[in-house]
Amino acid sequence: MNTLSKIIGGLLSILIITSCEENNSGTNTDRLVVLEGYLYQGEPVDSIHLTQTVSFESEDTIYTPVTDAQVAIKWNDNQYVLQNIGNGYYSYTGSDLQVIEDNGYAISVQSNGREITSKTTVPKKPKGILLSDNVLYVDTTFSFGPPGNTEDEGITVTWEDPDNDYFFIVIENTDPDAADIVFGNGQFPGGMQPPGRMFRIRSEPFKNNTYTINSRSLEKYGEHMIKVYRVNQEYVDLYENRQQDSRNLTEPLTNVVNGLGIFTAFNYQEAFFLVEKK
């Protein structure tokens, strides 16, 4: 039995030594940084936002902003350090960091001993924007039905899309004194306003080179600006998977390495049209 005892002792020693190398913690509670980084061509970098994941075992009740990170953007082989402006937002105060079409940008976030990185490229500005008309006439005679169920044909916006890219549309009223559009003399059951009234509308990302502006989707008379944004794949990935299925917990795709969220850039071309009563 002595031999057997020695063997058992030897093997147990090996086991103990090798076991020490393994981390068998039951739960991974590491907090990951969630990056929301949106760059716009021609605009300053002032809205990089950092928060943390909240562990299920944590007692936190809000998403804690990350305020002590070192955030830098690399562009043209230069590094630009962003400043914390509060509540998890980081901004670059200088004017030498410019967001330019077709340029690549990389972000680095140092937080809690971990480096989070991501990169993106500013897409090309959409070209060749054409409006079918410069004025959209609104027929305010009320009728039930979905937006678009009117007699006006709206304005069709088209642009060039040789690479079959993703776009989204933003329409904003630019006239601060513009009057509200009132349908049906303002007489709706229960005094409610018609559904879908928005001062500013934003479409989902889509693959197409045409968009129709319908009067039913507008709220104000006066001058409006339409922005046609070219969108990178990473935003499409996020948008298309923004609803999480609780059955399989598929998360939206992320282009952030070592963290979560998104770092992307947009480029847009604008055009203007007027909204008037028919």
């Binding site: 093997l11 991974n28 949106y38 994941t53 299920f56 075992e57 917990l249 998360e251 969220g261």
Partner: protein, 809 residues
Amino acid sequence: MTVIKFHKSIVLIVILFLIIGITGNIYCQTKKPVTFQGRIITTKNNQGVPNASIVVKATGNGTIADENGFFTIEIPTDTSTIYISSIGYHPRVIKIRTSSDFNPFSIKMEENTQSLDEVTIVAEKERIMRVSKDISTIKMSPKFVARLPNMGEVDIMRSFQLLPGVSATNETSAGLYVRGGTPDQNLILFDGMTIYHVDHFYGFFSAFNANTIDDIELMKGGFPAKYGGRISSVMEITGKPANLTKLNGMVTVSLLSVNAAIEVPIVKEKLSLQIAARRSYTDIIRTGLYKKIFKLYSDNSQSQQSSIPGGMRMFQQQEQQPDFYFYDLNSKLTYKINKKHTIALSLYNGKDNLDNSRDATNNFGFGGTSSVTISSTDIASWGNTGISSQWKADWNSKFNSSVFLSYSKYFSNRNQNNGTTDSTGSVGMQMNTLEDNKVQDFSLRIRNQLIINPHNTLEFGFENTFNNITYSLVFNDTSTMVDRNSKGNQSAIYLQDRIALLDKKLEMNLGMRVTHQNITGKIFYEPRASLSYQLTKNLKVESAWGKYYQLCTRVIREDVLQGSKDFWLLADGTTIPVSSSIHYILGASYEKGDYLFNIEGYYKPMDGLTEYTLRTTRSFRQASAQQEYFFKGSGYAKGIEFLAQKKYGLNTGWISYTLSEVKNTFPDLNYGKAYYALHDQPHEFKAIYSRKIKKWDLSATFVYATGKPYTAPVSQYEVTLLDGSKYEYIHVSEKNSVRLPDYHKLDLSVSYNWSSALGSETLSLSIFNVYNHKNIWYKKYEIAEDNVTVTNVNYLGFTPNISFTINFK
């Protein structure tokens, strides 16, 4: 190019066979040996004793009988003594004068019925586990496995899990995880029937009734060309031959189940019927002791809830214990036509029912101001049915054949429904999953063995298997995620040659298997080779290499919330790839006195692995519009096993340690990063001890293993989109990046044996998980609107069990 290479391989192997055969014959001629050929049979029914060991005492040379008891050995021309032993039988010593007097020769062995009068002989040669002379091959006998702690049923598969290289932490799966392989990658043959699922009783027992089994051999890797269709290991189970002379019976009653068997010689020496049946009664009578002990010692029996304050979603934990029952029936009809021909008909039928349903009311909000009731229905049933006919023909002392014609069917159904109701009675989201998997197998196996000379045994044969496999997965009664019905036929031929050289110091087994499958239309070439060399009297080095293909595979269905499951499918070469592996094995064993030391290292690259998951990455989402989310990948398993065994004496047992790693890489999963397989356990230590003291048998088993990896929802976060809308997400860890706590438990057993007028009786007490360690099987997550509930689904805690067995005279 690959085909050409394989053709070259065949030619080379054939040439090698010829050269070796010729040199073997030359060697024989120079030594002028006398060939002693014989067959070992039982005194009980004159059936062959499989895998018996035959050793010439004067030279120490030995051989192993085949599964029909035939053997050929070289003996000196003068008077020789041979020693014959086999697990479960009394050893025999035979003196031989000349080979011509006795050739061919039948040697009868008497079954060891644990007679206490012969304790000295029995104690010397009884071994629970026996390392075979073939590499990576281990044998066990149900008779001695019975001494190990058990849950009331002697369990073959559970006992094999105590061997090095076989995972011992799967209490809810009787399947074997052998050297980084999964249970579906093991070929399990029971009297020629392919068994597709071996779980019984919620996985606590295997589907095999030990009372119907004579011998089991497990080849952990590098198995010869005779076997195919799987890429990990082979387990060949030989059913107990029927008793043609005497009526026998036995009954075992435990706190969980009853097991009875009877052997009836219908026509003496000609026709015999064997029937064995088991059924658990935990669904009908939960024995008072069982319930009491469970309540006293196992927290698992009650749902526990603890609220962890804070977090966006409240997080609660609870424990659960499922309800279950099983039954099975084995029967075998044996007809001995004459001394050379025997036919047998085997029948197997078994079914399990598992009800894992429950309701749980959880209080949420600070101060428990609101509550939600989570109703969970989870009903599963699965089972096997099989029938096989066997014809064994001993044409002469040098040539024998076996023909197996079999049909087996495996089915598995699962119905899960989860729903929530809040304190106001409002019904929340209902989620329903229906899963149905059926496997049918029609097989014909023809095996032939030709003993050319004592140094050269040739085996060749043909196999044909027709499979019909269906699988469907439906969510919420309407969304059909998978609906597959595939039929396929595979035919194989094999040739293998076992050759001994250099005074039998060098032994090799070379072979080739060629398989054709009609779905893929491809031919698969599987060369195999194993080699062993006796360096000294005590030290042997051995190695094996082989290529393996698998055309019928079990796919993992990832389920982060409720533990991953799996299902069988037939490879089609497109959606479901053909699995393949190459085995590289190198080992050495040292035997001295009562001790055996064995070390084996292995490396197994694997390709054509399949996983099903709804969690996908971009490239797959873009590429596939199909509803069937199957992913293809590759992986590897590598490891080193240490075994130290004390074979004989009053104290016997073994300790083993395995260091291993199993990693998979799927380009479209886990962002293409390699991840640990679900069954990866870097360290596994096992200690098995057995002692016989007069009428008492004592045994203990201890198992320690690293916790298994899993994928877990770990946190949540929020992302604001361009329009200012905010979306919350649950963040899931990297695939299998979190590990369960380490697994360990100690089991004890004590048995008392005595004889009475009725027969031989045994009373056994087993204590499972003696120190009541909570080993977690998996974590189950339930996500409602504002809370996440995690359930630790545990393996059994402290569980004693008493069983009484009587073998009627």
